[in-house]
Symmetry: C2
Subunit: 494 residues, 2 copies
Amino acid sequence: MSDAKRPRLGDPQEDVCQLAHRLLSQEGVRKLLCPELVEDVLACSVARGVVMYPEPEKKREARAVPVTLTPCPLPASSFRAAEELAADFHSLMDKVCCDLAWLREALAKTAAMDLICRKLLEVCDQAYNSETGKEPSGDIRLHIMRNDFMFDLQRDPDLAMVQIELNMMAASFSTHCQDLTEAQRYALTKFLGILEPKLGYARVAAALEAAMPRSPAAEKIAEAMALAHEAYDARWQKIGLARAVLFVSTEDEKNELDHRKLELAFARKGLLCLRRSLPGLAGSALRPLAPAEGRRTSVKKPMALIVEGNYEVAVAYFRSGYWPNHFTDGAWEARTMIERSEAVKCPSAPAQLAGMKKVQQLLCLPAELRRFSGEAAATAVAKTFGRQFDPSEEAAKEAVEAAKAEPGRWVLKPQVEGSGELFFDEDIPRILNSRSKDELAEFILMERVRPPTTPSAVLDAAGSAVVRDAVAELGIFGTFVADGDRVLCNEARL
Amino acid sequence: MSDAKRPRLGDPQEDVCQLAHRLLSQEGVRKLLCPELVEDVLACSVARGVVMYPEPEKKREARAVPVTLTPCPLPASSFRAAEELAADFHSLMDKVCCDLAWLREALAKTAAMDLICRKLLEVCDQAYNSETGKEPSGDIRLHIMRNDFMFDLQRDPDLAMVQIELNMMAASFSTHCQDLTEAQRYALTKFLGILEPKLGYARVAAALEAAMPRSPAAEKIAEAMALAHEAYDARWQKIGLARAVLFVSTEDEKNELDHRKLELAFARKGLLCLRRSLPGLAGSALRPLAPAEGRRTSVKKPMALIVEGNYEVAVAYFRSGYWPNHFTDGAWEARTMIERSEAVKCPSAPAQLAGMKKVQQLLCLPAELRRFSGEAAATAVAKTFGRQFDPSEEAAKEAVEAAKAEPGRWVLKPQVEGSGELFFDEDIPRILNSRSKDELAEFILMERVRPPTTPSAVLDAAGSAVVRDAVAELGIFGTFVADGDRVLCNEARL
């Protein structure tokens, strides 16, 4: 106890390295992987709600989320570097969201190929125009993001961290990461303490406390949500209904329990939450809003979003709406109505568009990046950019030829969010050769990252624990809130 | 938000009464019981780990614990009264534990009929004797208890709260109660806010915050556990092994996830925990201990309990060992070894014996109660005693005849903990008539409590939400730690 807090021997930093070393060797992980560790990690993470609904209509039956039983060590400097870059990345993305004219032009060809991109641009046209007087830059903006990085062995060590994508939409697993970290830290402390008798339990505990800090991601997200809600409350007069956070989800969401833990974190901030699907919101309505005393607005007919006559939506938080089958009957009408309303959208249609891979590719071009970023920030974030190309463009000709010749060095990514469907190897020349130039606007061609592999203990299909080589991806959760040009919060925490 | 914290209108106490009134009527609960409330309570409680293992060997598959979807309101004064009595109850039970001679005599007849009682007395004989020099009063004692009460409509209002039993052993569901309260409070706030438009969401939220306070039970239990561990550390010199809390459980424990949440609360206090079954501890060993510098002991050969050669047990926490089938091969030998060791036992064999129903019945006799309790404390706790009798005794003759004549006014309880098997109505005369006097020592005959029923929303076997009349039992978790005659903690929190 007191020992765990104040190790009297050795340098904690050295202890951390010694423990990380064990987790980086196949043999080290295999030695750790006793049945008791497997049970401890599984049962403790289930107890912390790291579960999903295998059949979403059965709300009583939960199953453990497939997780790694042991963490993949990464240098602490990478975490810090990613955290330090976060504020610049967030400001950049916020500036992109606010430049609708640029987004329209940037995404014109993508829209022709990608339904969601096209429809979101239509939503923008209807919400932000001279008739409504609405502009993204004048709105309250809430971004809840996860910036994903990998490490490339082929690059200069200074440039080894490569941004894979910045999720503006439905960045998930924040609560599960938090809870799994607690379960893993606990189990590792127990078993590394035995395997490293020279360190002993107390020093192992102290080292792991330092190396696996408690993640405040859910609390930070709740704080940002509460800030956005307060900004809405300060802007608009009450109309006599309860104000709520609207979770937009699908009916058959397996990951509902990650949402629910966030919902409870929001409730602890005093926020009222609703869960509705996009089609379930078709019956919602708009009702005129008046600015709060002493506040003015350039919006011509500000509207509140009213759900079922009972709730005024202060923040619409989309955990659905990035995949074509999320948009069944009436869903696009509902999406448009939400955008038209003064409810804070997370993400707004412009923010969701800003998260598209085509935008990421364009921001790799220095001139485009500098449009939205100061020089220092542009230099800092650009260091993490991989080489990427729009295969529908003339400028990508050389890269397209290179990818056909050596497909193993490339990856072809469709625009659609969360598809998980990336194309590698022989699929790349097949697609590049069989599609027209315009059709290729559906994809981004990215130089493949060659990350180091780390041994990682996982359960196989039969439920047996095995050690596999895994690739670590570092996801940094971040939050940003602005009220017009006033930034209220811009934070990154794991 | 700020509204929720500072309601500007109305008296929160009145608001609480208004809400409680709704929860006390069948119609009120039925109105509340929309599918959305059912989903919110289920999903939020599953997300908080209010789950069990339907098949304990499958550590990935969890199922919601069967819970009431709506709480049963009880007067706040009852909660306070039960909390105020707690310290006296705890001291009383601790004094009983320390008087082994009295326990031996009190339980002599019960032991003849009840295997666990008999074996625990044997464990006491082997651990506490002149050869070991051990006495319960000299030990570090940790009690984690749950004192259960019901409310009797037939009694004088001042005496309406009747103690049902004080669980000294494996008091469970502390974490689930905590997490379910959070899920219920959240859902009630949402839906009572709609049903009570005059109060509105903010006042409903404030009233429910006051009426359903956050329970710190798991944290309080972890604090007591850490205190007991520290007392052990202060008493005994280290022998070079990691010191641990031993959770004694069964292999097929469905309620493992309640244990696991406590385990994580212990881990947050820097404690190392092991889970083992009693038969799994058969290979454990004792190793000599020496008092820490400046400490003396009257124990003749103090022994550390060593598990698998790797761990020295500082506290053995029994969540198993109260039911005959917990004691398979080697289990009693292991139980005896644990008692013989200097590990803090929760409960110790004397504490487990003190929790037997026969002891509760004897403490209803004023002379016996005063043996362990000062006058004021005895008067206070005795107010909550129901009338109970040992049907094997001559003194119970009148009560036995009354129970045969009017069985509906009585209940017959076996000694065994957690059996759940109580006998009512026609079973009572059948048993009383068919068993010999000695055989009846297996039971306690208690006057039946007639509690008010409260409408309560539950799921039926098919998973549909229904409103049923339920009976509320109030369980008050409490902790007590003493080092010899020095009391380190004596607390009650829901």
